[in-house]
Amino acid sequence: MSNLELPLVFFTVLSQTAIGLVIISTLRQWAVDGPTGNIRGEWVTASGLIIAGMVASFFHLGHPLEGYTALKHLDKAWLSREVLGVSIFLGLTVLGMFMARDKISGPVAFGAAIVGLATILFMGMTYSPPSYPAINNVLPLVFFLMTALLLGTSFGSWFASPEKRIWLTRVLAVTLIVGLVVYLIVPCVWLSGGTVMAQTGWAWIGSPLYWARIIIGLVLPLAAVWMTRDVPAWLPTIILIGEIMGRMVFFKDTLHAAGNLGGLY
């Protein structure tokens, strides 16, 4: 979005990591047989991440102390809905954290997962305004879902029992392959769009950060998962770095329609 917007980079990546952790934790608990693992530790981490993300988001406000007023426009503004979604998700995650023993109660876990998914939808709508032709579509939602899945599964491996790591490894491998395909194809598709969309495609392809993101955040983790048939302990940190770089590209190299005023669109 032509501006690095670091607070938003950290807010979106950290909150999507927390949502991914909660979704994967919930699915793992009920959809896969075997011991649950360190569920409490997982939900403590998710709570910490969402709090860190919310703190980061305040740094992009001119007047952070008035940030609570962002809930005023729920009937129209996706940003208001996003703030509400993140707040409810935080509440449910903290509640789950305190209730967690060997398991988390179904209503709280599924409630947090569903609210988390809705929040990612709200985020996808917030960051797909008409001013950015390349992402004025479903792509931000796809990118954000991918971040949640990649980081949710990889960080989830820290807390999963060995029996459930096999399932996590499979989900992570598939998400990495899908992510690689999406991130390589999307800028190429943009090249055949209108002026600003094509400029965005070239900006992404010409960005060293984009290629670093592809290699560090997707290719390297995929190779590691392929060779070890597991999720090594260091891998989530590498994927997190890759996602942060990818989000920086998203904010910095996606071009605004107004940048071409006076030229052909």
């Binding site: 001119g62 007047h63 129209k76 008409p130």
Partner: protein
């Protein structure tokens, strides 16, 4: 149709003197990086002549404004009486969502106030029966205000080349596209 004020930009007349932009600055004294009205040269791919042509652009006071729709604190409002879109700085928290979302790049970030701001159509002057400062100052009368409810100029267009098309927003602006001067070469004689 209800009354809807709009800027009418006669690019045939505009000489790119920037007086409109300077008049706006003189009226509101925005910080250096904050521009409410800007004069954009039309690129040679659209207007291939050594004499340049220009669009003087500010807020389009859209029928369905993105800034108003995305603002989480309801800092924007659209006046019923004349369709002018107003930004209330008292409510703004400087989240920048309007700046990111307006496809015409209208709202700007004021680094001093740490809030967004944009062209107000000089609504205080309008209410006092005066023209907006930019319109008032234009030496060639290339910038005018019109009421779209009664505006009926057949050669005016809403989306000329060089101005992005967003029908959902329905920007309240009309243009007279500049014509290329007739060049007479030896072969024409």
């Amino acid at each position: 149709m209800k009354k809807q004020y709009a800027f009418y930009i006669d690019a045939e007349r505009c000489i790119g003197c920037f007086t409109c932009a300077m008049a706006c600055k003189n009226q509101y004294h925005q910080p250096e990086t904050v521009i409410w009205r800007q004069v954009y040269p039309i690129k040679a791919e659209i207007y291939p002549h050594r004499e340049r042509a220009f669009y003087s652009l500010a807020c389009n006071h859209c029928e369905n404004p993105t800034c108003l729709n995305v603002c989480p604190v309801v800092a924007y409002s659209k006046r019923e009486a004349d369709g002018i879109v107003i930004h209330d700085q008292e409510k703004c928290i400087g989240c920048g969502n309007c700046i990111r979302s307006c496809p015409y790049g209208v709202p700007r970030y004021n680094p001093v106030l740490k809030k967004a701001e944009k062209c107000s159509f000089c609504w205080q002057r309008i209410d006092a029966g005066l023209k907006p400062q930019c319109v008032q100052s234009c030496p060639v009368e290339a910038l005018q205000i019109v009421d779209l409810a009664t505006f009926d100029k057949p050669d005016a267009v809403q989306y000329p080349p060089g101005f992005p098309k967003y029908p959902k927003l329905n920007p309240s602006v009309r243009f007279l596209v500049p014509r290329l001067p007739k060049i007479i070469g030896r072969e024409d004689i």
